[in-house]
């Protein structure tokens, strides 16, 4: 995400402002940006509005598809209790929950509830799904942020090295490692990391977000945020900060390696492309050093596709987060999703999946807007 504001400055004056508001709080951004944009930025405001409007059909289609798929084969009560209750009891419970009404009525009611921000109540522990998002979403967000940092820190520099040493041994080694990073499932990376760093070497904790002692110490804080690291910093205890960080290292590495490999390949391919552009040749003929050519002249255009791909990566990372969280018992949305799946609580599964769909749609929107700010050709 770091290159976004700096790269946008030369191309669209005044644009970084929108970029920041768009990245931080996605919903109000288009409304605030639109009138200003119509005067100064031409099609940008319209693009943002149209792109924002496109979120609605995407989410609606997904909700419809998932809802009908999950209901075609049965209702959540039969799934959870099938075999354990008598047919009469089952029918009574289904009627009480309204699952015996026509599917279309249930669907419209569901849509109405979602519009009011009600994603349902879990069947097993009667928690509103929205509360699950608020409690556990932060942990997932924290993990994804760490993983993106790892991925960018690995992917961009290594991709540059691979591109500059193209077809020599550093390139060969890096490309093979990138493919390996893709071929290795996140949970297997997690298992290997655990075996090496936790079991064999004993350097890092095996699982969880913080130690039991740390959790107790956290309890003293007045209004705790869901981010453990933030709270640890607020408490100002270096011991707690180290505690939270040491728990985050292995999950972040496992999830970050996967995406880092993809970034590496993207940077390499695009940098090779831009390094052959005439403007780079002309800079070379003016005597600009090779290192500066790669970092200054060719890198920035090569980063644009990465920002676009990042949108797709967020979807993939959420999938990866489900596996990483299960591997490391990192109590986030993915961990809870797996728990509810095992308990056959399909109301919870459907609710969490829907919320993740909304998150993906919104983050894709933000990424597209950033891409449009950087690269004027993207706009309509």
């Amino acid at each position: 995400m770091t290159p976004a504001p700096s790269t946008s400055t030369p191309e669209t004056a005044g644009a970084p402002d929108h970029g920041r508001s768009g990245a931080g709080v996605p919903t109000p951004a288009p409304a605030a940006a639109a009138p200003k944009a119509r005067r100064g930025l031409g099609g940008l405001g319209r693009y943002i509005l149209v792109r924002f409007a496109l979120i609605i059909p995407t989410v609606l289609i997904l909700m419809t598809v998932v809802f009908f798929l999950m209901r075609v084969t049965g209702d959540p009560i039969t799934a959870a209790q099938g075999g354990r209750l008598t047919p009469e009891e089952l029918a009574a419970r289904r009627a009480a929950a309204g699952y015996d009404r026509p599917l279309i009525v249930q669907y419209l009611e569901y849509l109405g509830n979602v519009l009011r921000g009600d994603f349902g109540t879990t069947y097993t522990d009667h928690t509103p799904v929205v509360r699950i998002l608020l409690t556990y979403g932060a942990a997932t967000a924290e993990l994804v942020v760490y993983a993106v940092i790892v991925a960018l820190a690995l992917g961009i520099p290594l991709g540059m090295i691979a591109a500059r040493r193209r077809d020599r041994w550093p390139d060969a080694v890096l490309r093979i490692s990138a493919i390996l990073a893709y071929a290795t499932p996140v949970f297997f990376v997690g298992l290997l990391l655990k075996l090496i760093f936790s079991v064999a070497l004993g350097w890092l904790p095996v699982a969880g977000r913080i130690s039991n002692r740390g959790e107790l110490a956290m309890g003293q804080i007045l209004n705790p945020s869901p981010f453990y690291l933030l709270d640890a910093i607020r408490l100002g205890s270096p011991e707690l900060i180290a505690d939270a960080l040491s728990h985050a290292i292995l999950p972040a590495l496992a999830l970050g390696l996967l995406t880092g490999g993809i970034f590496l390949r993207l940077v390499r391919t695009n940098l090779i492309g831009t390094l052959e552009m005439p403007y780079v040749d002309s800079a070379r003929s003016r005597g600009v050093r090779e290192g500066r050519l790669a970092t200054r002249h060719a890198l920035r255009p090569a980063l644009i596709p990465i920002i676009t791909v990042m949108g797709m990566q967020i979807a993939m990372m959420l999938g990866g987060a489900v596996l990483t969280e299960t591997t490391f018992e990192w109590k986030g949305l993915g961990y809870m999703l797996a728990q509810y799946m095992q308990a056959r609580d399909y109301v919870a599964v459907q609710g969490i999946v829907m919320m993740l769909a909304v998150i993906v749609a919104v983050s894709n929107f933000v990424v597209d807007v950033i891409a449009a700010l950087i690269d004027p050709r993207v706009r309509y």
């Binding site: 390996l180 071929a183 799946m341 769909a357």
Partner: protein
């Protein structure tokens, strides 16, 4: 290479034109060769050099190994995937690798690790084949109809495909496996459930590619000519468009095959795979192994995990190499560098081997 287009500063238009020209000459020159040298993988192998050739060969060897193991599993595996005893004597649980009779040890539940790894290739290959075939058939069909018919049907299908494409594929596969198998299943039930779950994720990819091609081809004169002479819609779609639109499929095919293995393993890891008594599945074994890791039992997880990595690696290497060889910008060739000090000896060697005709 004589095409001189005005060069836009950032666009890749000129590069693409060059690429097309290079591809054109390459195809023309290969026309005189016997047919078997022009088959997709073989022609790629002949065109490859240096590292790329190594990657392609490694991939082919791994894929061949995967397929052979799946085929010969009954001969290779010492025991059944669900056996905990043989000849009346129990295997014993948590035996370390190297125990007589158990080369890779046994699991906490007393299964032979080697047998489950070998039988697991069958499940993986079956899911891979089913998923890829089903998604090609459905995706190509939908793409063909959608692109050819156009109008509201096309718009709706594109919208659905885009929505599904943007969604985390693993979550979709989870939803599908709930729908199909209610989370638990027999061997073929589980294989089909996993395959269909994966199919739903892949169909949009084939759909997009084929539809884009069909929309482009629809405007070509030969389609118009076919319409003028009174050819039916079915025949235009089935012959004229289908044959021309499916050139890019082998690439997506290999990339998806590797993703199918990963998705199957992920579903199994989350406990939504195939019951261990029904078939061996690597993801399930890894799920079980997670708890063992903390007590120092490394062999129950390491070997199924390595099997996944090797299987995915093989398929990916083949797909990647074919992709790179099809893209002239990525094909290995000599760099035009004169002044750089860091010119390794490896490139010169690769460059002389360059047989780009």
């Amino acid at each position: 290479m004589t095409i001189s287009t005005p060069q836009p500063p950032v666009d890749g238009v000129d590069l693409e034109a060059q690429a097309l020209a290079a591809e054109g000459t390459a195809i023309a020159d290969r026309r005189g060769e016997p047919w078997y040298l022009r088959l997709p993988v073989i022609s790629h192998l002949r065109r490859s050099v240096g590292l790329q050739r190594g990657m392609l060969i490694t991939g082919l060897v791994l894929v061949a190994g995967l397929l052979l193991t799946a085929l010969l599993a009954p001969l290779l595996a010492p025991y059944s995937w669900a056996a905990t005893s043989a000849d009346g004597s129990s295997f014993g649980t948590q035996q370390p690798p190297g125990t007589p009779g158990h080369l890779l040890g046994t699991t906490v539940s007393g299964f032979d690790v080697l047998s489950r790894v070998i039988w697991g290739t069958r499940t993986a290959v079956a899911v891979m084949v089913c998923a890829v075939l089903a998604s090609i058939v459905i995706g190509v069909l939908l793409g063909l109809v959608s692109g050819y018919a156009g109008g509201w049907l096309d718009r709706i299908l594109v919208m659905i495909a885009d929505a599904v494409y943007a969604f985390p594929s693993l979550l979709l596969a989870i939803v599908m496996s709930i729908v199909i198998s209610q989370g638990q299943s027999s061997m073929w039930g589980g294989i089909l459930a996993a395959a269909i779950s994966i199919t739903v994720v892949f169909v949009p990819q084939y759909f997009r590619v084929i539809r884009a091609e069909v929309v482009r081809l629809k405007a070509e004169p030969f389609v118009e000519a076919a319409k003028v002479v009174g050819t039916g819609h079915m025949r235009i779609m089935g012959t004229h468009l289908l044959r021309n639109a499916t050139r890019t499929l082998p690439l997506i095919f290999t990339l998806n095959a590797s993703e199918a293995i990963l998705t199957l393993a992920a579903l199994g890891f989350l406990g939504f795979g195939i019951e261990p008594t029904m078939a061996a599945e690597w993801g399930y074994d890894l799920n079980r192994a997670m708890a063992d890791a903390t007590s120092g039992i490394w062999w129950t997880g390491l070997f199924p995990g390595l099997a996944i990595v090797l299987a995915v690696l093989g398929v990916t290497l083949v797909g990647e190499s074919i992709n790179d060889l099809n893209d002239p910008r990525l094909r290995t060739r000599r760099r035009r560098r004169r002044t750089t000090a860091a010119s390794g000896p490896g490139t010169a060697e690769a460059a002389t081997k360059e047989t780009q005709s």
